[in-house]
Homo-oligomer: 225 residues x 2
């Protein structure tokens, strides 16, 4: 599996290497416990140590590897780890919805519907790359709405992992046929519907239900599941 090159537009070598390594770690090609050497990685990618070093620091900041005196040890991302990631995603979105629900913001709802439309289009074209990207955009759009710098930063710190996990699982979902793809889109539409109620309790329940369901999807579409 290779990281979508479209997502590397204008990226530095360091970012590209980080993305590639991230995908390999999450997909399990590089296994937990393995030890990464800057020299070796640089050799494999045909670059110097500089961009590799940058990539290592990035991945360390995401918790995928741990920098030590002698080599970087791969922490990996088990199914349980992804569930923990979903815990954080739930915390973020729950918090955000709690801060946004009172603002009707018709623009937000409209924009979210537009994004789901793009997902439908991507589904029709059988394009999991575009589909997962729109999925990410959907959630990012909601989070942005809160105007909360620290929460947004928190999101940005897990964003690369989230998009990578989405990419992997979405490919799996696509290979599973149209009904599962349809289900993913419906989930988003349901969430939008509840957001329109402007009833915080209902919205919170909807968010919770959304992530509960996502965990289910996860078990069906993540390598380890």
């Amino acid at each position: 599996m290779k990281f979508p090159s479209i997502w590397l537009q204008g990226a530095s070598l360091g970012e590209a290497i980080a993305s590639e390594l991230r995908l390999q770690i999450i997909s399990g090609t590089i296994k937990r416990g393995e030890i990464l050497s800057e020299n070796r990685i640089a050799g494999e990618f045909g670059t110097s140590r500089s961009p590799v070093r940058e990539a290592m620091k990035t991945l360390s900041g995401e918790g995928l590897i741990q920098l030590e005196r002698m080599g970087a040890v791969v922490m990996g991302l088990s199914l349980k780890d992804v569930e923990e990631l979903y815990d954080v995603r739930y915390l973020i979105e729950s918090f955000v919805q709690g801060h946004v629900f009172m603002n009707p913001q018709p623009e937000l709802i409209q924009h979210l519907r537009q994004i789901v439309d793009r997902m439908e289009l991507a589904a029709k074209h059988g394009d999991p790359i575009e589909f997962s990207y729109q999925d990410l955009t959907f959630h990012e759009r909601i989070i942005t709405e809160a105007n909360h710098k620290r929460i947004l930063h928190l999101w940005k710190s897990i964003r690369p992992i989230v998009i990578t996990v989405m990419f992997i699982t979405t490919k799996q979902v696509f290979s599973g046929g149209g009904t599962r793809v349809r289900h993913v889109m419906d989930k988003h539409l349901q969430l939008i519907g509840e957001m329109e109620s402007l009833d915080e309790a209902r919205i919170q329940t909807a968010v919770q239900r959304y992530f509960d369901d996502s965990r289910q999807t996860l078990h069906l579409s993540f390598p380890e599941g």
Copy 2:
């Protein structure tokens, strides 16, 4: 103001520079909007660009600066930003308490009391460096208890900012006399007391009250407040 050298034991040049810059940004010596050049910083610290570059990436990961094509722009940390940081701290501790409250864990309570004892000692010696470090340790000990890798990682990502803010505010609190110091310790003791109740609702209320009060303290002891 200088960053406590005790906290830099075994740190690389990159980490030391990051810590020093972080303190200057948070304390306002380096102001929001200012543009940092790797070359200039390297010159000021008498090092090469390599460790500076590492420090810049660290600070960028913490949201204190933003890396751009031409220089890194300082985002700073306003009073509002610190309040947002407390939002996240509250989210973390609330989540963690929700996962830990059922486990009696006498060791945890015992350890927390021990930490408060150390705070008392530091207070007696008029040592804000040790005091703020124990304050940090107190919260870290609670968070560790949840055994939740992603949440722990989230904590670690804001940890350097938290300790720096604590260092600044604690120095201010110390200069304000004994009653304010006493108040901080009492807050921690109250939280421990409620944790012993094993009643989740009471614990959640206590956590909320703790951070509400911290915000008050913040307004009295943060430069901008």
